[in-house]
Amino acid sequence: MTEAPRAVHEIQDDLPGPRAELAGGAAVRLESGERLGPVRVAYQTWGTLNDARNNTVLICHALTGDQYAFGTHPVTGKKGWWESMVGPGKPIDTDRFHVVCPNCLGGCMGTTGPAAVDPATGELYGTSFPIITIGDMVNVQAMLLDHLGIEKVMCVIGGSMGAMQVLDWAARYPDRVVSAVPIAGAARHSAQNIAFHEVGRQAIMADPNWCGGFYYREGKRPEKGLSVARMAAHITYLSEPALWRKFGRELQNRYMKSYEGFGADFQVESYLRHQGASFVERFDANAYLYITRAMDYFDLEADHGGDLAKAWQGTKARFLLTSFTSDWLFPTSESKEVVHSLIRAGVNVSFVEIESDKGHDAFLLDEPDLFETTSGFLDSVARDLGF
């Protein structure tokens, strides 16, 4: 019998790529008021920082993403999650731009999170890890840029939760952002999205192996709970037409319904089970709890006294927003709210709604219109900066 693969929290220190110890190992103040430290960030870079130090593109990953946007993923062995967008000659052109992609705060691929060691106890944090926010993630990224000696980035770009970070970046550090590209995002998490996240969290916490969040020391893993959370969430990333096109009512390896209980009769069931099973190999259940919570708390409008336009006072950044017609998780209406607020604030903003039946996940997939608009936009930013 082969041994089960090692858990994510056991391998995170062995993953390839640089780590940065922030603020010289001092504690970082979180939005909750708590202090967390020392904070370590795992990140990847591609391309070369130019002499003017103004060609950096900062990529913010989504909920279950990580720093491996480009190149072979060290855990799954698959291609990077944004290889369609990042690489030589791609819209985020690593031949021209210096690309930085950090693992977010609370993540489980080497950046400080619930699966990291709490220096106070010498044990992994588990649920003693403080609650974090999108703003905390952004502050930590800003400290990483300080560490790398980069004052200003030519672009902050990301989809979904990455888009939330992009918006927060532009609002929080208006002087450090030349352009902002939030894709399939929103200025706040909707009630429906919070509801879906709650289903995922309840699935994890209902798994007896979760052990109140301290499964590390019990040598257990709440894999069932985490995989159910992933299965439920994965449906929200797709669309009804995409599911129908891909699976219809096709049966899995059989000609007729089995009438044998609850195995995966349908292909769509088998697909979801596979999504759940492969996810637990690369993601930590507590990280999932903390990051979904951070997304739920995000509300840039409330942070600015109920007027989103106030978030953009002082920004000189140019914006490009993109949404997808079939995305019901972060629908076009959410992007438009942001666009309206930017118009009200007199910001230079472009907006595109791309026709696609692939749902929210379209931002990760082959969408020629997305590539064309994004590369045109980044080209024009680079031209304005003189390279």
Binding site: I343, S350, S380
Partner: protein, 228 residues
């Protein structure tokens, strides 16, 4: 330098070194440098690009087609994908000095409402139309018994984006109905022969202009001065 240097009542639109289509060159000549403007239906951004780069305007665009939006974004122009019928309401009052609607008013469902929205968000609207009152269009309808299909109306009725065909007189009626005024107005024939449309001579323009460009002004406001 104005693109219409030495303009009289009749003149020919010259080539301009920016490769702008002649009628867009005429529109550009009606815009004060360094003004704030919105180009609705900005297509590939050719006019907007000229206004931003050469006249130093703070220009924004709205365009319905993906290809047009992509072209604008690649030029570095701020453009929102949207259409005049639904998305002008998104702009606050008095956001702009000018709003430009070239060859777009006849492609919207509610031209009156679009005109009202334009006057709400800007001081001045520059509107260009195809003139279905041109004698060829009239002749085509009378002799052939079919919708006008001429050099300047190249597509058959079921293909054209001009879902609201109108004449110079029709447009001026709408302007009056909305309680608005017109400033400078021009008729264009053969793509570059321009005639200034004087008050009382609209009938002539209605017969001989293939296209027309109007400066639409609110009833009581004066034209904006040049912003320094």
């Amino acid at each position: 330098m104005s693109l219409l240097a030495g303009a009289r009542d009749r003149f020919i639109l010259g080539e301009n070194r920016f490769g702008l289509r002649p009628d867009l060159g005429l529109v550009a000549s009606m815009i004060e440098p360094e003004s704030r403007l919105l180009d609705v239906g900005c297509d590939d951004g050719a006019l907007l690009d000229y206004l931003v780069r050469e006249l130093g305007c703070d220009g924004r665009g709205m365009e319905i087609s993906q290809a047009g939006v992509n072209a604008c974004v690649a030029r570095g122009l701020p453009v929102i994908q949207g259409d005049a019928d639904r998305h002008l309401v998104d702009y606050p009052d008095d956001s702009f000095d000018y709003v430009i609607l070239s060859h777009t008013l006849q492609a919207v469902h509610r031209p009156g409402e679009v005109l009202r929205q334009m006057m709400r968000i800007a001081d001045v609207a520059i509107v260009s139309i195809l003139n279905f009152g041109h004698w060829r269009a009239r002749l085509s309808l009378v002799t052939r018994g079919r919708m006008p299909h001429t050099r300047f109306i190249p597509e058959p009725w079921f293909m054209t984006s001009t879902i609201r065909p109108c004449t110079v007189r029709d447009f001026l009626d709408l302007v009056r109905l909305e309680g608005l005024l017109t400033g400078d107005c021009y008729g264009i024939a053969k793509e570059r022969e321009v005639t200034v449309i004087r008050s009382g001579f609209e009938g002539q323009a209605n017969l001989f202009a293939e296209q027309a460009v109007f400066e639409v002004l609110p009833a009581k406001k004066r034209k904006p001065g040049r912003r320094s």
